[in-house]
Symmetry: C2
Subunit: 147 residues, 2 copies
């Protein structure tokens, strides 16, 4: 993941998106992260360089990028939304202790066939596997384990 500012502007133009400093910075922070950050995480990361940045703009920008297909929302749990600029087909493993989300790129998981027992007229567009468990550090300090 090493996109230059020019690459990003290129990408924005290709999608018919205006290129603004805030938008570029937010997308860049997301592309360079593998942590599946929240809107607030991104706000905290970009804020120092753009002190006027509003959290609202982060939400708006993420919405725009999502509609443009540059960003996906990772739907883990019903708590706060987390975002991912990694568009290659992949899956996730979530630590129930620290809520870390790791990418799972195992190609075997991308070859699941349509499941049996579906209504015939249901059309599946994609699927995602979510593994849950506890990472090493969280296993060693079980005090913090969530229910």
């Amino acid at each position: 993941m090493n996109l230059s500012l020019d690459d990003i502007q290129q990408k924005f133009r290709g999608c018919g998106l205006k290129s603004t400093p805030q938008r570029t910075a937010i997308y860049r922070a997301l592309v360079h992260s593998t942590a599946h950050p929240t809107a607030e995480d991104l706000f905290a990361q970009v804020s120092p360089t753009y002190p006027m940045l509003s959290l609202n703009t982060v939400y708006y920008t993420l919405g725009v990028l999502r509609k443009a297909g540059l960003v996906q929302e990772v739907n883990i749990g019903h708590d706060r939304a987390r975002f991912d600029a990694n568009l290659s087909p992949h899956h996730h493993v979530i630590c129930l202790g620290c809520r870390t989300i790791l990418d799972v790129m195992d190609p075997r998981l991308n070859r699941l066939t349509s499941p049996s027992g579906l209504p015939k007229d249901f059309e599946i567009t994609n699927y995602q596997v979510a593994f849950r468990g506890y990472c090493g550090p969280c296993r060693r300090s079980p005090l913090l384990m969530a229910t």
Copy 2:
């Protein structure tokens, strides 16, 4: 799913849970549903028979039942929480139009092996496959399709 009131009281006692009319009614409504209802759905369903019921109690009860292992939260999207009393290992298919959640019982999905590329000390406790797409009715009225 045809649990009598006695069966439910039995089950509660087996888990060390007190048996109250509200708790029984809420669990019964959930057991008899395959719609993965929200707390408010359950409140609306049980309310007519218990006019004094508080939505708060529904949340509290669902929390108790979840901790007791009688109910699972189905983590689809980060919007409102939906609940499931079906404890047999199964997966879900979600219609992105009407947000319906259907059970997927295909046994092949319960035999996925641990994915490659995980940190060695990560311990996976379970996983869930979420298929997304559009059901027949939603495909035929694309006006309502969500982004």
